[in-house]
Amino acid sequence: MIKKKVTIKNSAGLHARPSAQLVKLASKYKSDFFIHSYGYRVNGKSILGVMTLAAEHGAELELEVDGSDEEEALTAIEKLIEDKFGMDEE
């Protein structure tokens, strides 16, 4: 199992479209994926879980990935968040 801390950088936070992208991406990997945030732990492959986080700009999340492709999954997920979900700041 590996863990990594990240910060949400896009200004709108984890709203509808980024949440959908995150879940879509995480679901491609076999590894389990959880997000810890301010005492909560949610399934990162669950759109409803991610939405209930309501993570806004600047929110700190800890990603927890566990499984055979955990390295690969974490790299991809981290990149998506770092890249601000590929969105220009609207």
Partner: protein, 574 residues
């Protein structure tokens, strides 16, 4: 008008107009309180049955949404539907529903109800403004799933001329009400991209959505006017208002009637044919009303999915017969155009479903499915000689053409030996949607009676752009000169070999597209029925020469944008 209505004051409500035209009628209010479901116990032996009911309901709803998503190119619409799909497939929902059934031994409807309510509460607690819209989605999905597992559909007597006022209704209910002759639809929920709104538009039905508290503020049996253009809903209209809206309604009808009587000719007398793309029997009245000369594309996938599955040969025959009975002119039936994810067998995930096992590729592997459909079509063809054409989707190589011909022959022999009369001249045609077929159109045209260009998939495969991928959606360019060139190549190939050619993609229902197509020498065009008046208007206002000049410069331009500008210069500055 009776006295007590005349006394009541006219009231206006605002919503968003999403349908077509003006609707006037008496209200039927469908006010089902979001189902409160009781926690009833089940016995251990029922656990599996209840779990199965849940996965079946989930699957049904998923298929209904996917089918709808497939037909939509509008980006924001797709996003909403995809978000709903993601919720339905959420692993946490499934876990929770299963746990409630298994561990607490409660019914599936309660398990669904309490699971969704739990997540709705959590979303509310999170206090995020971002997901307000999602709460509506969740309630909507919850109620639909419960309705499916409980086998409930609204059983409200809707009569001809009624205006249905509801919180929200499902696509299947909408089609059922439409078949009974409803005059319009008012909904509390639903943006312009909700299911019901999209279908209302396709049916040409007057529709206003997002009317707050409509089911509370409007009583049953009240006179209503709804205007799809302004999004206005008027209750108890006074005499003057009613008169002016009746006139508006009549003008619209007159307008389309005038266009219907007209021959379809360009300004200088070159004939063209406008046909309709449809999927449901309910769309037939619009086909006649808008003066389509036949059905250029009958989609059949809805026979396989959703809540009205009609997969069996006899059920299919009934469906095809209804369509033939309700129309005049040719009816082009497209064989099932589905991907590998849509059949019960071999549900293995594909990395690239759009480049994968779909259309004819799937049909040739699923012989039973294919033979059943061909036999149903052939049996009906005997009763309507000369009218049915068979269209084969997703062809990419010649072997598939040889195989489908053999299959058709086999089905013909089987049906004939059962003693049925078959239309011996039934025409066989191919969809041109893969560039390999467009480029070698001449060789393919030699083998069949007709070709039909599906411009959405042709664009997708030519531009290498997944229509569903929002990051690159700007690259999905219908008018890209390369796409236009492939269409022109197909036209030349078909003409040389004397095969008929039509276009049934979105391009045919779009003014820029249609101007190019006519100019490129393609005069059989099939589109959504309600697009016909506008398209006929454009095509009848200019000469063939003008369209030809436009088509030629479009082919020579270097971008999608340039083609649009050219169109505006040629046809909009009159």
């Amino acid at each position: 008008m009776n006295a007590d209505i005349a006394d009541t004051k006219e009231k206006h409500f605002n919503g968003r107009g999403v349908g077509v035209g003006v609707g006037i009628g008496k209200s039927v209010v469908i006010d089902i309180e979001s189902a409160e479901v009781e926690p009833n116990s089940i016995s251990e032996k029922d656990v599996e049955t209840h779990k199965k009911k849940f996965s079946k309901a989930n699957k049904g709803l998923t298929e209904e949404l996917e089918l709808l998503a497939k037909e939509l190119t509008d980006k924001s619409t797709r996003e909403i539907i995809e978000a709903q799909l993601q919720i339905i497939q959420d692993p946490e929902i499934e876990k929770s529903v299963s746990a409630i059934i298994e561990e607490k031994l409660l019914t599936v409807e309660y398990a669904i109800y309490s699971t969704y309510c739990k997540f709705i509460e959590r979303l509310k607690e999170s206090g995020s403004e971002l997901f307000k819209q999602r709460i509506v989605d969740l309630e909507d999905i919850r109620d639909r799933l419960i309705a499916i597992v409980c086998n409930h559909t609204h059983k409200h007597p809707v009569k001809k001329g009624d205006v249905v006022v509801a919180k929200d209704i499902s696509p299947t209910e909408l089609v059922a009400f439409y078949e009974k002759g409803m005059a319009g639809l008012v909904m509390e929920k639903g943006g312009p991209t909700s299911h019901a709104a999209i279908i209302a538009k396709s049916l040409g039905l007057p529709c206003v959505v997002s009317v707050k508290k409509a089911t509370k503020n409007i009583d049953a049996g009240e006179q209503l006017i709804l205007d799809s253009e302004s999004g206005m809903l008027i209750c108890h209209p006074d005499k003057e208002t009613l008169k002016s809206y009746r006139k508006k309604q009549k003008d619209r009808l007159k307008l389309s009637a005038r266009k219907c009587r007209e021959v379809f000719e360009t300004k200088d007398g070159h004939p063209y044919q406008l046909l309709a793309n449809i999927e449901f029997e309910a769309e037939l009245p619009k086909v006649a009303e808008h003066g389509a000369r036949g059905i250029g594309l009958l989609r059949t996938e809805s026979l396989l999915f959703g809540s009205r599955i009609r997969k069996g040969q006899e059920d299919q025959e009934v469906f095809y017969s209804h369509i033939l009975e309700g129309t005049e002119g040719p009816v082009t039936i497209r064989l099932f155009d589905v991907g590998g994810d849509k059949t019960t067998t071999r549900a293995s995930k594909e990395d690239n479903p759009f480049l994968g096992w779909r259309g004819i590729r799937l049909l040739l592997d699923e012989k039973q499915l294919l033979q059943n459909q061909l036999k149903a079509i052939l049996k009906v063809s005997g009763k309507y000689p000369g009218r049915i054409k068979v269209l084969v989707p997703m062809v990419s190589v010649m072997d598939e053409v040889d195989s489908i011909k053999k299959e058709l022959e086999e089905a013909r022999e089987a049906v004939t030996s059962e003693g049925y009369a078959v239309d011996e001249g039934i025409q066989l045609g191919l969809m041109v949607e893969v560039p390999s077929v467009a480029i070698s159109a001449r060789k393919f045209a030699r083998e069949v009676d007709f070709l039909s260009i599906g411009t959405n998939d042709l664009t997708q495969y030519t531009m290498a752009v997944d229509r569903g991928n929002e990051r690159i959606s700007a690259l999905f360019q219908h008018y890209h000169p390369s796409v236009l060139q492939l269409i022109k190549t197909t036209q030349e190939g078909a003409t040389e070999e004397g095969a008929d050619l039509s276009v049934c993609g979105e391009l045919a229902g779009d003014p820029v597209g249609v101007a190019f197509l006519i100019g490129a020498g393609i005069s059989d065009l099939s589109m959504l029925p309600h697009s016909i008046p506008e398209i006929a208007d454009l095509l009848s206002s200019f000469t063939k020469k003008e369209f030809e000049a436009f088509a030629e410069s479009a082919l020579n331009s270097s971008s999608d944008k340039q083609v649009k500008e050219l169109f505006e210069k040629s046809f909009c500055q009159k």
